[in-house]
Subunit: 161 residues, 2 copies
Amino acid sequence: MDARSKTPPTSITEVTLDVLEDTLSFYIRTMNIAVSRDLDDKLEGLDVAKGTGKITTLLLVDSHPGIRPSIIAELILRDRSATGRLMEQMEDHGLITRRQSSTDSRVQELYITEKGAALAARIRPLVTEQSRDFFKFISPEEQQQLMDILKRAYRRIVGLP
Amino acid sequence: MDARSKTPPTSITEVTLDVLEDTLSFYIRTMNIAVSRDLDDKLEGLDVAKGTGKITTLLLVDSHPGIRPSIIAELILRDRSATGRLMEQMEDHGLITRRQSSTDSRVQELYITEKGAALAARIRPLVTEQSRDFFKFISPEEQQQLMDILKRAYRRIVGLP
DNA sequence: GAAATATAGTTGCAAATGTCCACTATCTGG
DNA sequence: CCAGATAGTGGACATTTGCAACTATATTTC
């Protein structure tokens, strides 16, 4: 419950968020929407639209030639099936190629294409910049704090040391 | 680019995230997946499944009787159309009711039903608890820090003072 | 007071995403 | 050599969200 007034609120400023006001999950979930939207705008038309999936994959394949889908799946927190489709999509776009591993024929090795590499090079600064700009109203120290904490959380969740 | 070894990585521990390693957006987006999934599990079967939308709406309507959809839309960062459907859904589930405002007939006033109120009461502690538990591996002080920063960001984005 | 502009909500359409599950192929360990 | 794990695929499906167009009603402006 909350401070209830007789008349319904007519502006967001008259509203409190109930328990969500102090709920970390709420802010993470909501900020996600905002950040993602902003990122999409900044990357508009870049073949790597919506979703952390594509960006992460592109960069990962670029910097770890031969990486396999299942590893990417773990890192982006999706199941193999979703990840597979993502790979397919990126292959269709000519960004990566898939090759069967010679040592274990169940696994695929992913490699970046020229086009993919070019895109990766182009995207890297954009992604960094977007993040910096988006959060520029909080101090660099706080950004760092925030990131340290979230990084720790992330690593713990995906099972990194 | 990144430390590249000749052989492809076979475990996530051998992988670095390229520039994403230091990109706040990446962590927000990824943590969002994790938190949301966890929350869904905790709330399973509770008529308020997937999405911040439903929870926020329920609590908001419960603590601000007569609140209108457009305000909720702003707070949950969705457009009116998506929000409208959300309201419809919740009405179908018997959680809220919609009534035309007597002072401005364009506007709807939302009210909680008994069922909705009961659910809100039940959910409040769950949501709080979920958030606390999910982040329990980071210290309370840091959780607080994190929340303060994100709260500030959120308020700025939706345009709250 | 009439016209122009803004706001609230609805609806159709479409696209994209993610999930569950079952299935095949292949590896590894006992 | 068999049992059980792991990698990838494909199907079916539900869900969500966004855009754009449209109506109704308020508000502002001249």
